[in-house]
Each structure stands twice: as C-alpha cells, then as structure tokens.
Symmetry: C2
Subunit: 289 residues, 2 copies
C-alpha cells in the first residue's frame, strides 16, 4: 500500500476515538478540520520511509508512529494560528481552526490532538511492547520540553535567541522524532537516525522561510510575509533569498548522505530526494544554479 494511503488510514483510525458516543460535536469537527484534508504529510511519509528502510516488521506500529507525529504536527499548527500567536485566518487554503471554530475550540482541539497522538501509540504497541517506552520518549522529546516544538515556540517569547536553536526546536525536533520513532517502531536503534531528521527539519524550515518571503498566499494556502511582519527570525532575513536557497540545497544533500547503513538505504534516498523536490517551486530552486 502506498505511504499516503497508509498515513490517511492511520490518521482516521487515530481520530476514531474522538468520534465515539458521547463526544462534543464541535470539538470533534474542529479536530477533523485540523487533520483533514492534510498538507504534504512530509513527516509521516518520512516515518514510513525510514521504517521500511529499517526492515519494518510491525506495520501497525510504524503507522501509529507516523500518525502520532502528524497529529502532533497538526496540534502545533492549530495552536500556532491562535490570535495570541500568528492570528492566522487561513491554513492549507481554508479557514484556520480558530477562524472556523473560534479560539476556545482551537485551544481544546490542539490539546485533544496531543492526547490522541499518545493514545494511538498506546493502542498499537501490543505486538512489540518493549518498543513502546523508547517510542513514547522519542515523541515526547520532539514536541515537549526542553527542545521540542513547544520549546521552540516559547523561544519567541524570550528576549534573545539564536536562529539555529530556535529552528532546531520549532521544526527540527519533530523531524528528528519522525525518523527516530520510525527506527524505534521497527525495532532498530533510533540514535543513528537523528541526523537525517535534523537535516530534513532544517531544510523544511529554510524552505518555509523562502516560501514566506518569495511566494504568494494563493500558492501556499496561508498568509505570507508573516516572518518580516512579526519580526521573526528567518533564514531569508539572515542569508538573503539566494543564500537561503543555497543552504536548502546543501541541507538536502546532507540529509541524503546521512542515511545510515540499512537494508533499504537506496529506496530511502530516493524518497528523500523526491520529498525535498516538493519543498519549494522548481523555478526558485533553479534560480541559484
């Protein structure tokens, strides 16, 4: 089954609990809105690709890891769009959750998605229980303190920060969790897989900065120019547009080089190259050649 199909099925299964008897309908709808239809699903795709490269032997557990990572990503977007952060009215070309459902349901939907992510892992660990603690810790590290997404977001509230550490926490950490959780779900050592996640995360963040500076809102489905408007750190502000594109290309090459020795290394490198090519429009990527 193609990755995309497995991911959507795992996400639907992950949200099924929320739709059980007795649920408050608006919160359930807000959660669905936050998750479907999705964006590029780049993190869970990476998770499944790494799990396969590691010789995946428990499809349910890799899918649970992929779904958990994506649910946490969606949760962070919902809270990011809140009026006190980005106050974004649109996301993926549609009204953001806070815009469509109001601020209160957006706070709650983010919370409920975080919980749902852990529930998915708990419910799919039966066959390889010994892998569950590492899997949980890996996911917690990607999203919580001291250096997960939430920590990254919190650096915006500090008087001083370094661009690299901020981006590493805000974006890189969940990518590192995506690759490391995949290895853990397949029974492999997660450690050697951190570098790939780190590189992909930084590449993705730099690409996001490039799109924010050089794209238009209709193309990426959310407001642009926010980094400058909100005075946020950005690779384009630091390196200029061409400098940022060069950095992106370098990071993708580094990601491909970082793939550890494993049975499916060649296939994985191809997936990375393909995912990377979707990060920014080709004409932008080619503009520095």
């Amino acid at each position: 089954m193609p990755h995309q199909e497995r991911i959507e099925r795992a996400l639907r299964a992950g949200l099924a609990t929320s739709l059980q008897r007795g649920h408050p309908p608006k919160l359930a709808a807000a959660m669905q809105h936050a998750v479907f239809p999705g964006g590029a699903r780049i993190r869970p795709t990476l998770t499944l690709a790494v799990a396969m490269a590691c010789g995946e032997d428990d499809a349910g557990l890799s899918e649970a890891a992929a779904a958990a990572i994506e649910l946490l990503h969606c949760a962070s977007l919902v809270h990011d769009d809140l009026p006190c952060f980005d106050a974004a009215d649109t996301r993926r070309g549609r009204p953001s959750v806070q815009r469509a459902f109001g601020e209160r349901l957006a706070v709650l939907a983010g919370d409920a998605l975080i919980v749902a992510a852990f529930e998915v892992l708990a419910c799919n660990s039966k066959r390889h229980l010994s892998r569950l603690p590492v899997l949980l810790k890996t996911v917690c590290r990607g999203v919580g303190m001291p250096m997960g997404i939430v920590a990254g977001q919190a650096w915006e509230c500090e008087p001083q920060l370094s661009l690299r550490e901020y981006q590493q926490a805000k974006t890189g950490s969940l990518f590192a969790s995506a690759t490391m959780a995949a290895a853990a779900a397949a029974g492999a050592d997660p450690g050697p897989w951190r570098a790939l996640g780190d590189c992909m995360g930084e590449a993705f963040q730099v690409a996001d900065d490039i799109l924010d500076a050089a794209s238009d809102a209709s193309k990426i489905g959310k407001p642009v120019g926010r980094d400058v408007a909100l005075g946020r750190p950005s690779a384009v502000r630091e390196l200029g547009l061409h400098g940022a594109i060069r950095r992106l290309n370098l990071l993708v090459a580094e990601a491909i080089d970082s793939v550890p020795v494993c049975s499916g290394a060649d296939g994985l490198r191809a997936v990375i190259a393909m995912e990377a090519s979707r990060l920014i429009p080709r004409e932008l990527a080619d503009s520095v050649l």
Copy 2:
C-alpha cells in the same frame, strides 16, 4: 513516606526534563508556576491511596501515575484560565499563569505539561512494562476525547448540554482516571475502580460549585461567582445551595460504599472521608444537618 511527600517528589522529577540544558527559561518558569506550590493535590492523593489499597508493588509506577494525573490537572487549569475561557487573573491565591507570564506562554505551558505527563509514564514503566498500555489509555480517556476534561470544556461551546454529562467529563473523568490508573499501576484490574473515581469527581465538582457560590475569593484563592457571571451550569443553580450540599454528602457516602474488595479497603475509606472533609468548610457542610 507520606503521600504528600511522594507526590511533590514525583512532580519535581516529572518536571526535571523541562529544566534540562537548552530549555527556554520563561516556559520552564511558567510550568513550575503552574505546578508549585500546589493546591490540595486531591487527585494524586487518591491515586496513591488506591494503589496502596490494591497492594502497591511498584512505588515508582504509582508515583508516576499520580504525577501524570496532577500534571494533566495543572495543564487544564492553565488553559482554563486563558482569556478566551475564564480570563482568571488569580489561581491558588497567586497570579494565574496567563496573568504572570502572558497568554502565549500559558498556551505553551499547558501543552508542555500534557506532554510531560506522558513522558513521566514512559520513563517509569521499566519494571512492569505490561501495565503501560492500560495506564496510558486510562490517562488518555481522562483527559482527551470523547469524554475527558478537554471534552468537558468543549461542552461549554455547545448550544445544549446536560449538567451531569458536562461535569462527568470536565471533572469526573480525571478522577476516574486517578483511581483506575492507580489500580493499573499496581497490577490490578482498573474496571472496578471507576465508580469511586466517578463519585469523588462529582463530589469535587459539586463542592467547587458550592464554593463558587458561597465563599469569598480570599478563602479559595481564585475569583468567585464565575459560574453565574459566565452563565455556566452549576449544581447550586440547579439544586439551590442546601440541595447542593445534600448532594455532596450523598456522593461522599456513595464513594465510600463503592470501594471494591481489596487488601487495604479500610485505610482507603478513611482517606476518602478525610479528603472529602476538606472539600468545603465545615460550617457549610453542617448547615444542612
């Protein structure tokens, strides 16, 4: 070691990760502010008491369960106090997190506390790994969809709700998790422990409604009269003050009766009676006799 001491130690251990190298200082401070000094710690006290009654054989795991429940409770208070919900300036006699640290850090502190709760469980399950999935699921049910705290809060956004279901989700669910997680952590069947949690949760909610209606802010450390001001459902609004006090007394008796057969049933009944006596001032409790 007394329950109180074990709880505070487990909570400090649970937040230790947040203070590791590289953390954003303000978010760490906001999390500490949300958890210390605590309130009555009634939920984790109940967890440890039930674990002991079940013949606790893994102190670290019961303490982890107690800490997880309390961290989730603190997270819900931090989000409850946000401007879009209660807009509370005080909590436990001090500035609320949103007041002391701002709205953004309050959103993030709540998120990070939820993640920390699951991390605590993952990090303390080594000795009895087989108990971890049930423990996780029990905790998820108490806090997430379809009927946990977050769902309870979301019922406030629906045009119609029943007082009982609303309170069951908003308060009862985490109490049920507190008793059921305790049983799971001690290797017992959690099912028979739900009734105790349900009764204690409803008793606590009714007591909260009574305090909101009949107390003054200096005594309970948070704003009073909010239920009426915000048009929220309340046992006092439904039953009158004396009716609500009678209901509270009935629920406590029901809780004591519900204790399943176990080695430490008598000790547990004593703890329940003592915790219940702290719910509302004696003069209020006695006013219906």
